[in-house]
Structures are given as C-alpha cells and as structure tokens.
C-alpha cells in the first residue's frame, strides 16, 4: 500500500471515531483533527485539539483514536498528542456534525462565518462576538421562538432552552 493510500485510510478511521457522549457525532465532524502524519515505516502521529476544557471525554477520545489508527493494516506505531494552539472553538464543527447534533435533539452552534480566517495562526473567534444567549432554532420543530432557560446544562458543552412553539425543552451546544 502506498503511503498516500495508508494516510487516507488512517484519516478515515480516525475521523470516524465517535464522541463518547454524543455518539452520532464523530471527532472528524467536530473538527478535532489538527494534523495527521504517516511516515514510510507506517508510524502514525495524530495531533488533536481538545474541545471544552472541562470535557471528561477528552482522554477517552485520545485512546479511541489510537486504537482506531492501530487497527488499520500497515500501521506499525501510533502517537496521539493533544495540542492547545490553535484553540478549538465550536465554529470548527462541520455542516454534517451540526446536522447530527440537531437530529440528536441538541441545537447546534453556528458554523464558520464565510470569509473569516481559519484559526491556524492567531485565532479568529467569530462566535465570541455574539451573545451566548442568542436564540437557537428548536431542533424538533425549527421554530426560532425559543428562549434560553439555563446557561448551565448536563455537560460543560451544553445549555438548556425552551421552545415556545412546540412547548419542548431542548439542549443547545454552547457557542
């Protein structure tokens, strides 16, 4: 197998690792993979960006990523590292990830703002400029007649909202 093919296979395997707390969402969708390298001897290095600092799933994700890479034929060794620079922010979640969150009953944060620089050098944080309380469309009925009930929810990455149109409480991924 050529290194390029192996690289693509490892990337596919790593990107498909689910978030243990939100299984429909993968770490690829979350935009956690910063860098992935496969050398000629089949040694893999993965650099991941941890999401919320209070997320207890981070270390589990690191182990799952190492396991997933190791299972690919041709891989001889795996090193997984977390890095802080650039900082992960919710705008790294891709379109599919946001759709999966919505289907899971969690209102997704907005995506990257068109034209905004990707945070590879100094970060740009477009979402930080909007209030965390901005109304989110209800994941069940799509109405924007929603309010934030509580800014702290069941995990460090979610808050609690209420939809006035369908009378449903729901969670929102924090921006």
């Amino acid at each position: 197998m050529t290194t390029t093919t192996l690289h693509a296979e490892v990337r596919r395997a790593v990107a498909a690792v689910p978030d243990p707390e939100l299984p429909p969402v993968t770490i690829g969708m979350l935009g956690m993979i910063h860098h992935l390298d496969v050398d000629d001897d089949g040694e893999v290095t993965v650099e991941l960006l941890p999401t919320f600092s209070g997320c207890p799933a981070t270390e589990m994700i690191g182990r799952d990523v190492a396991d997933a890479a190791r299972e690919v034929d041709g891989v001889t060794a795996v090193t997984v590292r977390f890095r802080h620079d650039p900082p992960w922010t919710p705008d790294r979640i891709d379109e599919e990830g946001r759709e999966q969150l919505r289907r899971f009953g969690i209102a997704p944060p907005g995506g990257p703002i068109a034209g905004a620089q990707r945070p590879d050098g100094r970060p740009t944080l477009p979402l930080a400029m909007t209030s965390a309380a901005d109304p989110r469309p209800c994941p069940y009925c799509g109405s924007t007649e929603t309010v934030r009930d509580a800014m702290f929810g069941p995990t460090p990455c979610r808050d609690v909202r209420f939809c006035r149109a369908c009378d449903q409480p729901f969670e929102a991924f924090r921006s």
Binding site: S53, G54, H84, D85, A133, A150, F152, G153, P156
Partner: protein, 275 residues
Amino acid sequence: MTATPAQLPELSTPRAQVLLAVADDALISGHRSSHWTGVAPSLEEDLAFSTIAQDGINHADVWYQLLAESETDVAVATDLRAAVDALGLGRAPAAYRHAILCERPPRDFAFTLARHWAFERFDVVRLDVLADSIDPDIAAIATKLLHEARYHLEHADHWFARLSRAGDQPHERFAGALATALPEALGLFEPVDGEEEAIETGLFPVGHVALRSRWLEIVGVLLEEAGYGELVPGDEAATPREASGGRRGEHSPDFLDDVWPEMTALYRAHPDARW
C-alpha cells in the same frame, strides 16, 4: 511497595510562577465552588456552581499540562496525567500561588456571589491580557478559556444585577457581602516572584499590579450604577493584611487547615493512583 510521586517540574522560573498563579486561582476557586454541589439554594444554581467548579478545576488542569510539558526534561508525554496530578495535588501549601480570596469558604450564598463576581470580573481581564502573550501556547489557551469564561461572567453579572436591583433586604445583604469580598479581592493583584521579567519579555504583557486599575475601572462603574458607589476600593487602598500574601505562598488557615488537607488527602495516601 512505596509509592513514588511524579516529579514536579522546575517551578522557580517567572513563566512557571505566572502560570501557577493563574492555574492555582482556578483550582482553588473551583474547589470552593464545588461546595454548593447538592446544597445550592436552587437546582439551577446547583448546576451552575457544579459546572463552574468543573470548569475551574479543568482550566487549572490545562495550565498544569502546559507547565508539565514545557518545564520538564523528562518525557512527560507518556504520563502527562501523573505530572498534572503532581502539580495540582502534590505541592506543599507554601508552593501554591492563588490569592487568599479564592481560598475563603463560601460563607453564605451572598458572599459566594460577591466573591464570584469580583473574581470573574478579574479572570476575564487577566485572560484577555494573556491572550496577547508572546508565548503562543499561553495565548492560545487564554483565548480558549476566555471563550468558556464568558458563561461564568454572564452568570456572575446576572446575580449582581438581580440582587442590586431587588430592593432593600437583598440589596443590603449583597452590599455586606461585597464589603467583605472587594477589599480581599485586592490580593488578586499582588505579583508573583519574577513577574517583572515576565512583563518585560511579553509573556504576561500586563502584570497583576497594573491589572488592578483595569479591573477597578470596570467594577467601579458597575458598582456606582448599582448604588454601591461607597464600596468601590480606592486607587491607593491596601490589601487587608489577612487577605495578602497568597501570591507569595503565604496562605490562611482557610487553605492550610481546610482546602489543602481535604483536596490532597487521597493523593497523599496514594500518590501513584490512576483514574
């Protein structure tokens, strides 16, 4: 078999001292916030302070990771968790650099909210400065934590507004709590060892001492607007003696006899425990 605790990195550099002040403030505030888990006045506040506690302890964790990775010679990558635990739980009390305000017990909910507000208002100002650090890792972490700290600040501001506008009894009771918390908050602005050097090199572009006027400018206006003008600390006001010295490792019995023994009990009994 005797357990061997993980080795601590070199902590006497200006960079390590600054990072310890930031991390220890978060760790000890986090521990004090966790006091309300299960016993807060409402379910919402239980969730709020439990999350704030979890965030605080994890913010400290991220800074300790940075310290462990960058200030040690040994290959910590294989056992970063042990290195972080050693930093958070394996130091003698005099090696902690948090301000005494952070170690104060929750007292009542009014004091908890007053301390919370004074601290969160300080925390975002300091993180904002650290986001401009010449050190790319410090800048990146500060940027990220600032993003998360927005929620803490919003929570603190919400209570500040609610209590200050709530009429006589709550307004007065909150005034009493602020009158205790605000002078003690001045201890947040004492420098760590070697801070001058960290300022000159751009590692910590504005030191703790100069942060005080930035903080005062912000909280002063908010206090005035809320009818608490007489509580604004003066430009020259000294930190009360009993709330001074945390950044030099001089802590009060609230830390020495309460937070530290409880927080480190398990680690001291089993320094090689793995989670």
